[in-house]
Subunit: 204 residues, 2 copies
C-alpha cells in the first residue's frame, strides 16, 4: 500500500489555476483537491463541501486552536485553512492531493515539512495580462481588482521558492506542463508503488 503524493500549488488570482487544474484532473485519475475551510462567503455557483467548507470565523478559530490546520492564512480579509486530518486521510487512500493555497500557507508548509510535497507556482505571463484577465472576469469590484493586483505582485516574488514554475501563457502548453509535473513526480524512484518495486526487484 502506497500513500499519495502531496502537491502544493499557488498562483495569483487570475493566473488560470482553476482552469488548469480542472483540465489536468479530468485527464489524470487519482488526483484530488484538498477541500479547504474558509470564512469567506460562497461566490455564485460555489458549493459547500465541494469548493470549500464554508464556516464562521468563530468555528475557524476554534479549529485553529485545536491544531486542526496543516496551514492557515488570512487573505483579502478572510481566513483559509487546510485540515490536516482530511489531507492525511486522502493521502492514505493512495490518491495524490492538490493543496491549492496562497504563498504564505505554502511557505509555512514547506518549512514544517511534516508531509513530503512537490510545490508548483502558476504565473500569468505578465502583470499587465493578469490585470486584463481580472477585469475580463467581471466578478470583482475595482477595489478588489486593485487589491488582487497588489497581492499578485507580492505573490510573484515568491515564485522562485517553488520547485516548479509554470507560466500560463498558452493554455494548452500550461496544461501539458502541469500534467507532466504530476506524471514525473509519480515516476520518482522512491515513490514506486510497493507492489511494483517488489515485482521488479524481488526476482533478482
Amino acid at each position: 500500500m502506497t500513500t499519495g503524493k502531496l502537491f502544493i500549488l499557488s498562483a495569483p488570482s487570475g493566473a488560470g489555476k482553476t482552469t488548469l487544474l480542472k483540465r489536468v484532473m479530468a485527464d489524470l485519475p487519482g488526483l484530488a483537491f484538498s477541500v479547504s475551510h474558509t470564512t469567506r462567503l460562497p461566490r455564485a455557483g460555489e458549493v459547500d463541501g465541494v469548493d470549500y467548507h464554508f464556516i464562521t470565523r468563530d468555528q475557524f478559530e476554534a479549529m485553529r486552536e485545536h491544531g486542526t490546520f496543516l496551514e492557515w492564512a488570512e487573505v483579502h480579509g478572510n481566513l483559509y485553512g487546510t485540515s490536516r486530518p482530511a489531507v492525511l486521510a486522502q493521502l492514505a487512500t493512495g490518491v495524490d492531493v492538490i493543496l491549492d493555497i496562497d504563498v504564505q500557507g505554502a511557505a509555512i508548509l514547506r518549512k514544517s515539512a511534516t508531509i513530503p510535497a512537490a510545490s508548483l507556482f502558476i504565473s500569468p505571463p505578465s502583470l499587465r495580462e493578469l490585470e486584463r484577465r481580472l477585469r475580463g472576469r467581471g466578478t470583482d469590484s475595482e477595489e478588489t481588482i486593485l487589491l488582487r493586483l497588489k497581492n499578485a505582485k507580492i505573490e510573484m516574488e515568491a515564485a522562485l521558492d517553488y520547485e516548479y514554475l509554470i507560466v500560463n501563457d498558452r493554455l494548452e502548453q500550461a496544461i501539458d506542463t502541469l500534467r507532466a509535473v504530476v506524471i514525473a513526480e509519480r515516476s520518482r524512484g522512491h515513490r514506486l508503488p510497493t507492489g511494483q518495486a517488489i515485482e521488479i526487484l524481488g526476482e533478482l
Copy 2:
C-alpha cells in the same frame, strides 16, 4: 542565455530505451543525444559519429589519460566513454542533452556532480519479459543473451539510485512518462530561461 539540462539515462539491454528515446525526441524539440565514444565494433546499421564515435582501444586510452571523459566504463568487454567537451558544448547551445550510459558510469557522474543532472532508469516489467525481448530481437548469441541477463540483474539493483524510475510495461505509457519527466524538469523554477524570469519579475 540559458544552458541545457543534462539527463542521465540507464537501462538494461532490451528494456526498450532506444525506442522510447526516439519517440520522445521526435516529439520534443531541443533534446539531443550525447554521442559516446566506444571501442566496440559497429552493429549492422550503426553509423560512426551518429550512434557512437567508434575508436580503437589505443585511441580510447589516450583520451582517458588526457581526462577527456566525463565518465567511462567497461561493459561486456568494451570501453564506453562520454567526452566532457562535447557535452558542455551541447549544453551551452541551450539544448538538453541525454547521456545514455550504464549504471557504473551513471554512479560516477552522480558522485562527481560537476554538471547538474536528472537521472532516469528505464526498467523492463520483469526479468522474464526482458529475456523474452532479448531472444525476440534475434541479434545476440546465446552467450551474449546470458551475459546481458546477468548484467541486467546487477543493473536493476541500481534502479532505486535514480531520481526517476520508468517501468516500460506498456510502451505508450512509458513514452508519455519519459516525455513528462523532460517537460517537468524544464519547468523547474531555477531553470527558467533568464529572459523569461526577467520578463515576469522585472515588472514588480
